[in-house]
Amino acid sequence: MLVLTRKEDESIMIGDDIEVKVLDLKESQVKLGIVAPKSVAVHRREVYLAIQSENTQAAAAAQIDALTDLIQR
């Protein structure tokens, strides 16, 4: 992992097209602004990982008929 320290209002460039800026800096929370092309997805890491994990579970899908039973209420 590349480690850089930044102060409020300072930025990092990732490649030519992505900028990460420190907008606000409080004691235990930093507000980041991200400029990136539309083709690049930007998400909070824990959400990203949770969805990735859930997708993997979904790919191991078993019987679809069980679903129909469940949905018929």
């Binding site: 990203y48 990735q52 859930e54 979904a58 191991a60 899908a61 078993a62 679903l67 039973d69 949905i71």
Partner: protein
């Protein structure tokens, strides 16, 4: 064209039926091309990879469970899918069917959006904490020994 699938055997699919993901399903970076196959009801469908015979997802129409399910998509994502409004897209949510059938669930936070006309798709991550990543279809256990509801009695023979 011939498509090899583990679940359905060899299928004949029209090349223009192939859906291309503009961004991959998270965790499935290398798999961009899928076909939709019918499921046992009109609200359940398979999303079968054309690049891996084993890889398939179950998708459901989320409004069957959440009638007011609503997706807010940024203009950049709409143009990525070559549409001008969300109404032009088909919206599905991926379903997880684990061994324990009482834990069948769907991901309301990250729906699959499909442009049916141009066959472009992506998985969108919604900025809504009220749409859970794990939305369980079965009601929670009421307690030990209590009779299960008829709706999911069929799952536990």
């Amino acid at each position: 064209m011939q498509l090899e699938t583990v679940r359905f055997g060899t299928l004949e699919v029209a090349p223009d039926a192939i859906i291309t993901f503009t961004q991959p399903i998270l965790g499935f970076q290398e798999y961009r091309r899928f076909v939709q196959l019918p499921g046992p009801s009109d609200y359940l469908r398979w999303l079968q990879s054309t690049e891996s015979s084993e890889l398939a997802f179950i998708m459901m129409v989320p409004t069957v469970l959440v009638p007011d399910y609503h997706v807010d998509v940024r203009p950049a994502e709409l143009s990525e899918l070559a549409v001008s409004s969300i109404e032009e897209l088909e919206v599905y949510t991926l379903v997880v069917v684990p061994e324990d059938k009482s834990k069948v669930r769907t991901n309301l936070r990250a729906p699959i959006l499909i442009n049916p006309r141009l066959r472009l798709a992506k998985q969108a991550l919604l900025d809504r904490s009220d749409y859970p990543i794990q939305f369980f279809l079965a009601p929670p256990h009421q307690g030990q020994g209590q009779a299960r509801e008829a709706s999911h009695a069929g799952l536990n023979p």
